[in-house]
Symmetry: C2
Subunit: 361 residues, 2 copies
Amino acid sequence: MRKIGIDQLEDIALGASLLGAGGGGDPYIGRLMALGAIQDHGPVTMLDPEEVPDDAFIVPIAMMGAPTVLAEKGMMGDEFRVLVDMISKYYGKEVYGVMPIEAGGVNSMLPFVAAARLGLPLIDVDGMGRAFPELQMVTYTIGGVKSTPMALCDEKGNSTIINTVTNKWTENLARALTMEMGGSTSVILYAMDGKTMKEYGVKNIVTRSEQLGKAIRTIKEGRGTPQENFLEVAEGIKLFKGKIVDVLREVKGAFNIGKVVFDGINEYKGQSAFVQFQNENLACTVEGKILATVPDLICLVDTETFIPIPTDQLKYGKRVLVVGLQCYPSWRSEVGIEIVGPRYFGIETDYIPLEERAQNV
Amino acid sequence: MRKIGIDQLEDIALGASLLGAGGGGDPYIGRLMALGAIQDHGPVTMLDPEEVPDDAFIVPIAMMGAPTVLAEKGMMGDEFRVLVDMISKYYGKEVYGVMPIEAGGVNSMLPFVAAARLGLPLIDVDGMGRAFPELQMVTYTIGGVKSTPMALCDEKGNSTIINTVTNKWTENLARALTMEMGGSTSVILYAMDGKTMKEYGVKNIVTRSEQLGKAIRTIKEGRGTPQENFLEVAEGIKLFKGKIVDVLREVKGAFNIGKVVFDGINEYKGQSAFVQFQNENLACTVEGKILATVPDLICLVDTETFIPIPTDQLKYGKRVLVVGLQCYPSWRSEVGIEIVGPRYFGIETDYIPLEERAQNV
């Protein structure tokens, strides 16, 4: 158990935006909301997963939809109270604590808003170890955990409880409601007991985000060059370095879908590469050869500051280092690949671990 | 209190299809399901509204979406059990009885399916006294009754509870879910106590359907011509008589929207008329002059058998009598006209009661 104050929160936000692998939107809005909540209510108590009793009833807190929409329309303020009350009443159980469902911009921060405002502890665990675009894409699905009963509400006061026969149906129904409600909603799903969380969750991911954030912030203090330091703390494999020459983007079914194209710089001069994305980055292709795909993390960072760049901030001329990070091990299982492998996203290649692909370059 | 067996049910189905004013789809599928349920479980007990205690918890039963889709994909069979259990658990109250929400094809019959299967009484009341295309269009909305908490489920086993800030939001969210679930769902909304039902419901509407059905069935036994007998029992005003020469139809947001055009026959020879519809008939224009609009009922019946013709069965060449029926009085209030008047449906005219328009022809 430890306290998360404003300094720790800043590092967590920065580190989580790297693990977001392009997704989760601008961390700015989520960070601002979490900072405000901690300023108002004091530091948040963070529990190690092992500190949570097996029978404790715990709930992930997240937003669904486009973070840019959330930034525009805002929240009414008591969404998390509404959600926690709904789910608590529906299950007939008191909520013991909250947790994030994914790393990445807004959704790494909103659980801190809920924890601070509701006076609940936050558990150092999530269901992805990164960010993914759809609700069924969590390690809990690999474990056969049901996503519902789910609670969903908007900033106007509308709310729903959803029960489904598969986690993919949860995605479909919650997405339809979110679009009808104006493009963003607040949600609780995969409510579970402590035992299930410890068995299938990605443990200590918030602490990992904090370490990454701190390392990026102090990148110039290390022994090597900043880039060497960055690759070492991120445990990253360098995939490419280039200048953005084109960004193709469309919004389809509430997803940001597209492709960013680079011309190589420095040691990559004369080469060309591109990264495809659906909210998160899906695959990186250099000189016609795929170097990394989901579920491994493909992260774009600024070549000078190493600040991660979400897909919605990609701009012509930006100089970017493309880095691959190994995903959480259970994503590499057969079921994991079925749920979030390249073919699910329409990329016609088998999944080959990042580090194996790198050896063949 | 009286028992509704197979004979009464046949008359109710026929009469309700007249009050459906073109909507509700082919009564065949709903009638078939209700007949099956009564054959399996015996006659249904129907209560007069005044027999229901003020504090009894009663629920309307209906389907949402396109009846033609329901006919194709069917039901799993225990939807009503799922809905009644959900709503009962959510409110923490036992369900005392069920009721229809509208007259018209399928939705006049499904409450009988639920009543027979669940062994609950059915109450002789509804919320429209006719059929309307959207969920907020009930006399309960005029009375300020909330449509939610609402229960909605599909035939695959997905189910939701919806809470909204307005009855129009209920329509929007339930419609989005229904479309995502494949075009038809089963619903309970406007769950209420006996007192509220007695204050705002359209009372004895099932009995009225039965009387209308019986009259249509025995139309040749009356004193006058069949048409005179029909207009007398229906308390209808003759608007036009013609042959269908064109049907314009499109499906938009899960609604059947369109227009049917007639060339006059007999006393209307040489004249032309058309009826606009959105699931239900909205307005009747004869020789360029509007003779009737919502919320009054515009009903198309066969000129020989006086069997009502739903909008999805309109066909070139069919000979049709167009009849206007006065709507339930509270629809003619200011709030009523706001909810279901001609302008809500995009027809640019003030509401003038049917019988006044008829005097000026």
